[in-house]
């Protein structure tokens, strides 16, 4: 019998090893994505209507999607490198599921750009990419290339994924129906990614507090870039200045829980 097949089973009574052994698996991932992606090729259902956007709104959406593609490419390349660095088999399997998620995100955003009439997506992304986001990508991949699991997971799964989760949710509230549906599927994936990052790093720092200063250092190095990326994304989405502190709150809460403030 598989875990949880018993009607009376309560997952909250699992011990921690059994819990990690359940959620950091492809079996869990299959069951999770089945819930929100079945019947939605490229992240959207056939019944979702395409609405006509005015030229200004369409141009802003293209810029936003180009930058989403940069972020997803960073996460795809970062996660694939992290599979090799992962300190145990559960983390390797989880990171492999994240590679698949990130590739899917890149694919659906490229597809959406195609819907909007962009024929040469590579050229369009090069033209519209936020330089700060490209700097962030370079910094993340340097940490991966340097073999720094903790620092790279912090940059990718805590900083980048928290930022994406916040920006995508904000965007989905006001997006056209197809973009919103695509974003909702991506947001569901992001919960796993930033949750893994916070919990993996939290456990590793609890076991060995000497890991904390390096993460503090990486945070300080990336803070200015992250702020610039975040502001650029919110500018593109025309998020009012008054709403921005609230949107950054969840990232600040995460670093506080990790003791990195």
């Amino acid at each position: 019998m598989l875990l949880g097949d018993d009607e009376d089973f309560d997952p909250h009574l699992l011990d921690e090893d059994a819990f990690v052994g359940e959620v950091q698996t492809f079996e869990f991932w299959f069951g999770a994505v089945e819930g929100y992606l079945t019947g939605r090729p490229y992240g959207r259902s056939a019944a979702t209507p395409e609405i006509e956007l005015d030229d200004i709104r369409q141009d802003r959406l293209i810029t936003t999607l180009c930058n989403y593609c940069v972020g997803e490419t960073a996460a795809l390349e970062g996660a694939s490198g992290l599979v090799r660095l992962a300190p145990n088999h559960h983390a390797k399997v989880f990171m492999a599921t994240q590679v698949v998620d990130e590739a899917r995100h890149l694919e659906v955003f490229l597809r959406r750009l195609g819907d909007l009439g962009v024929t040469d997506t590579d050229a369009e992304i090069r033209k519209r990419a936020n330089p700060a986001l490209l700097d962030f990508k370079d910094s993340l991949l340097a940490l991966v290339d340097g073999g720094e699991w903790d620092a790279a997971v912090f940059a990718q799964n805590v900083i980048l994924e928290s930022m994406e989760f916040t920006v995508f949710r904000s965007h989905a509230e006001n997006a056209d129906p197809i973009t919103a549906e695509v974003l909702h599927g991506v947001i569901s994936d992001e919960r796993r990614h930033f949750g893994f990052g916070e919990n993996d790093l939290g456990r590793r720092m609890a076991a060995d507090p000497s890991r904390r200063p390096r993460l503090q250092e990486v945070k300080e190095q990336l803070d200015a870039i992250v702020l610039s990326v975040f502001e650029g994304a919110l500018d593109d989405l025309e998020v009012p200045m008054a709403d921005r502190p609230r949107l950054g709150q969840e990232y600040l809460e995460t670093v506080e829980r990790l003791g990195l403030t």
């Binding site: 097949d5 997952p11 909250h12 069951g31 819930g35 919960r191 796993r192 949750g195 916070e198 995460t254």
Partner: protein, 94 residues
Amino acid sequence: MSEGREAAAASRHSYELEETGFNEVPKKWRKFYRYWGGIDDILAPNEVVCPVCKVVIRSKRKLRPGDKVYCMPCMSRMVVVEGPDGRLEAEVIF
């Protein structure tokens, strides 16, 4: 589970959970979670909000401070605590 914990668990109000539309974990686990409606969402005595991903975690029994709960959607492990306003909250434990 120790005899003391079994007795304490047996004395608690229990809940029959049903799915509420949450679809981000495998089907067999979905009834243990629901989407949070924001600060106006009134939680039942067997519910607490995950501080990491803001999903409502549901238990088969009334929650009490000290209970351990898991958020499967974001893979977090938590302990239930009483907040400053007397309401139950979840704190992440590593």
